[in-house]
Symmetry: C2
């Protein structure tokens, strides 16, 4: 575990600056970019697959997968849209340097919507600005209703909270009101959409939300 760190520049500032450059690049090409964050297994990839199904006739979509293995990349590839693995090298989050490398493999002038699947983690990804326009945080019913209370930074930064696996409500001891109150206490403006990526429930609402963001973004 020998690993010498010798850095004398303000790392976060450099990364934030790079994020701002990415944002300008995305805006120049009128690409709406959404950063999707969640725990491992909350349903990020499943949701992305459902969104592609519903949106690919309206938007030219690409996906960036923050990961160390191409398991999810292969799932997205079956949808016949551009997908890039942003290799995180074992880091627990994406950053703007990884994003920049991944973006170079995409033709931005041929895209309308970029879905970025961040690393499965409710802590670190919240601290790294990627240049994306909106944050979707996915929680899932089996994880429990205490997640907004335990990971406030992540949920506070969300523009939209997707509560996935809502079909598990009947099996799990999940207090929906407690979950909603936890999110609202952080920021009452955060929208919450209840979803089952498995059976499609609530997907249409997210699709409408994305269309609205795209409209607001100048499309």
């Amino acid at each position: 575990m020998k690993n010498t760190i010798k850095v004398e520049t303000p790392v976060f500032d450099t990364l934030t600056l790079k994020g701002q450059i990415i944002r300008k690049l995305l805006d120049k090409h009128q690409v709406l970019a959404i950063n999707i964050m969640a725990s491992p297994g909350a349903g990020k990839t499943s949701l992305i697959l459902k969104l592609i199904e519903s949106l690919k006739n309206k938007f030219r979509i690409a996906v960036i997968e923050g990961d160390i293995v191409p398991i999810d990349v292969e799932k997205i590839q079956k949808q016949q849209i551009p997908v890039v693995l942003a290799h995180t090298g074992g880091a627990c989050h994406l950053d703007s340097v990884m994003m920049e490398k991944a973006l170079k493999k995409l033709k931005l002038n041929e895209l309308d919507l970029l879905l970025v699947e961040n690393v499965g983690n409710l802590i670190c990804p919240a601290s790294f600005y990627l240049g994306t326009h909106k944050n979707i945080v996915i929680a899932s019913v089996p994880e429990g209703d205490d997640k907004p209370y335990k990971y406030p930074t992540m949920f506070k930064g969300a523009d939209l909270v997707v509560l996935n696996k809502i079909d598990h409500l009947e099996h799990d001891n999940f207090d929906l009101q407690n979950f909603i109150a936890g999110v609202s206490a952080l920021d009452p403006k955060i929208e919450i959409i209840k979803v089952s990526a498995r059976n499609g429930l609530g997907i249409a609402e997210i699709v409408d939300w994305i269309k609205l963001q795209s409209k607001n973004n100048g499309k």
Copy 2:
């Protein structure tokens, strides 16, 4: 997000060394320490509560909770055993410095078993040696059967993999054989115990496993 990092010493080496010192301290007091790692919501605290119930008549137990909020600490406190919040300051893992601070609040000469609940994360905690004797990694059925393939470092470092929420098998499209094959491919010696922390299934097997580790540890 301004944050200047200026470090010129081998950080990981220092942390590993401190972990080794902690290990010696634990051994001196004949305290078996177990590092419990998992995704957010996989059931770490629920499992710890079940283990306390089953073990507190045999072992003098304490718990260290790696967290930023005392939600889980309060749950453990109801069991009338010593519990300490190791404040992670927003880091996505425990390290040996946080452990050292937490240990100072415990009377090691009055303990037999220390359960350490790491931060909910399947990446970073695998890289930080805490001085603990054994690693339990909890996966849960709703997270999906691909987790050992997606987080190989975490699962490879496990002495015991607990597959929790096994009562969800009937609701989820979880391929048990694929999960087991994924763990075995990393290390065929890793034991896997199927558990439902909710209904108590499999808890007795983990209790037996801990008793065996304690015996091997010289108790």
